[in-house]
């Protein structure tokens, strides 16, 4: 990597005089932030399910397994969100949020000694859910195709028709005439 950090631009290359508008949208920055947040949280859930379970008053092997599963889910959704399939990633985050909300609501039962921790956690998740929904909606809106996929069946690329080109190729093959050598009178 040391080699790569030494790269510099040649002094004679064009330099920026004035910069224009960026192709990046704020929604891309938000999506990246949410993805990394999910990956960090997921790692925590995956590595320390007991600590999280105890804090929320759910202490059973099933609960720990569930927290681990939620962690893996967070990481997977985050990874997909960071890929070019941003939309799929963000919507899978929303689906995950719904699972989180369901689980936390269940933990809000009166017999839970740690109810006082569950409430704030639930509020935090609701906040993240709102952001996820917003980002997912925006990205979906942006990538929505206007109308149907276009039909390009007229774009053969062969001005004299596909059949003729195929034919010509077959004749060339049968007479063993390979295409003309790469010397041209035009050059």
């Amino acid at each position: 990597m040391n080699i790569l950090t030494n790269i510099t631009r040649m002094p004679s290359d064009p330099k920026i005089i004035e910069t224009g508008r960026s192709s990046a949208h704020p929604i891309d920055t938000l999506s990246r932030g949410l993805a990394w947040f999910g990956i960090c949280l997921g790692t925590l859930e995956l590595l320390a399910p007991r600590r999280i379970g105890r804090a929320l008053g759910v202490e059973s092997p099933t609960a720990y397994a569930l927290i681990r599963f939620f962690g893996a889910r967070e990481i997977a959704a985050g990874v997909v969100t960071l890929s070019t399939e941003k939309k799929l990633g963000l919507w899978s985050r929303v689906a995950g949020d719904v699972m989180d909300i369901a689980a936390l609501t269940a933990a809000l039962m009166p017999y839970n000694r740690r109810r006082q921790n569950v409430g704030p956690a639930l509020i935090a998740v609701l906040g993240v859910t709102a952001l996820d929904l917003f980002a997912a909606g925006q990205v979906t809106q942006r990538s929505r195709r206007k109308g149907e996929a276009k039909n390009y069946s007229g774009r053969t690329g062969f001005p004299n028709g596909t059949a003729l080109s195929r034919n010509r190729a077959n004749i060339a093959a049968s007479t063993r005439q390979v295409e003309p050598a790469a010397t041209s009178h035009r050059h």
Partner: protein
């Protein structure tokens, strides 16, 4: 002048920059009349290619009019000539150039020392494609300095439009070389993964070179319709099993020739779990490329077949079924395109109306709209297949 400048991941801007100047005797300056956004520009857009610097000018598909020539161009070019610029810069004099291996020219990479360390041996200089390939400013700009201009050009005769010939600089010869290196026999089935611009050119090349059957794989209906128009049988991988269909279409034997026009950024989806695994490893820098298509090709290819790779890969890949490839006796062919090895022949074919590569252009825009067109092309918005920019 105006130019599209790389500032970071997903951040390209139309900036005002200083004009290029003649530096070496063999240089020429062209006024760019048309340029295009290439699928491989998206790898830079997503920051998957190392060694980009904020301030680098994008673009390696361009053509224009010569406005200035250096003293060493020696009459090979003159002011007013109309040329397409191949994306591979080559000197024409080194051993590789003499053998026609222009994309591995030994002299044109001006960051040779660094490239030697990273690649073992440096490859040619490329326009607008990171500092590993020379860090040359690209052609998504109003003007471009062309190094080694006396050799690095394709002269265009009058009577052909920009749109007809622009793709001689990259995607047409890239698709063509990918098929040529498969050594097509009249009984061959060629399966092509990816119906982007290079895939579309490869489909037409396979038809022109006489393959019996051409099969194209993608999931976007508009791209599949364009593939079918070119003479391909299509497979939508979101609706059917690629491996089952390919075997069905080849009497259970698999295609003889498999061509990867997708490259390092395979489509990520939950139905192809290996793509998520690869994406995760990419993020923690344990792997730089997603080779889903390569794995599938090696599995489905007919024994003794050829795997041809025009798609761009940048570094390390993982879980490659090399044992299958070895035992099946597959041949791998790959590389950046030796553009000028093919360009005269292809120019003739365009002039004779055998093929018109402009079929692939779906969007034309100004340079100022370029940054947004990167988004449109990346998201395949509005059935976008190929964007041409007019500076």
């Amino acid at each position: 002048m105006k130019a599209l400048v790389w500032h970071g991941k997903e951040d390209i801007r139309c900036d005002r920059v200083s004009d290029p100047e003649i530096e070496e005797p063999r240089d020429a300056i062209i006024k760019v009349t048309s340029c295009a956004i290439c699928g491989s520009d998206l790898h830079l857009f997503h920051n998957f290619i190392p060694a980009m610097l904020p301030g680098d000018i994008m673009g390696h598909e361009m053509m224009g009019e010569v406005v200035e020539v250096g003293s060493g161009v020696n009459g090979h070019l003159k002011k007013g000539d109309r040329i397409v610029v191949p994306f591979t810069i080559f000197c024409g004099e080194c051993d590789q150039c003499k053998a026609g291996n222009y994309s591995v020219c030994e002299r044109s990479n001006r960051k040779k020392e660094m490239a030697d360390k990273v690649f073992g041996h440096a490859t040619a200089g490329l326009f607008g494609y990171s500092h590993l390939t020379g860090g040359y400013p690209g052609g998504q700009a109003e003007y471009l300095r062309v190094p080694f201009a006396d050799t690095t050009h394709i002269k265009i005769p009058d009577g052909l439009t920009d749109e007809q010939v622009l793709f001689l600089g990259d995607i047409f010869p890239t698709g063509w070389q990918a098929v040529k290196q498969c050594d097509i026999q009249p009984t061959d089935t060629v399966a092509i993964w990816g119906c982007g611009p290079v895939g579309q050119m490869a489909i037409r090349s396979a038809v022109l070179l006489g393959a019996e059957q051409v099969i194209a794989i993608d999931y976007l209906p508009e791209r599949l319709s364009m593939a079918e128009a070119g003479g391909a049988t299509t497979i939508n991988f979101k609706q059917e099993s690629v491996i089952e269909r390919l075997n069905d279409l080849t009497d259970g034997k698999g295609p003889e020739k498999c061509l990867d026009a997708t490259g390092m950024e395979s489509h990520v989806s939950f139905s192809q779990p290996d793509t998520i695994y690869d994406r995760a490893k990419q993020m923690v820098m344990m792997e730089s490329d997603r080779p889903h298509v390569l794995r599938e090709m090696i599995y489905v290819c007919r024994p003794a077949g050829v795997i041809s790779i025009p798609g761009v890969y940048s570094g390390l890949i993982d879980k490659m079924p090399m044992g299958i490839a070895m035992n099946k006796g597959l041949t791998f062919k790959m590389g950046q395109t030796h553009v000028n090895r093919w360009s005269d022949d292809l120019l003739n074919r365009i002039a004779e109306n055998q093929i018109d590569p402009s079929f692939v252009i779906t969007h034309t825009a100004s340079l100022e709209d370029g940054p947004e067109m990167y988004n449109v092309f990346r998201d395949k918005r509005d059935s976008c297949v190929k964007v041409v920019l007019k500076p």
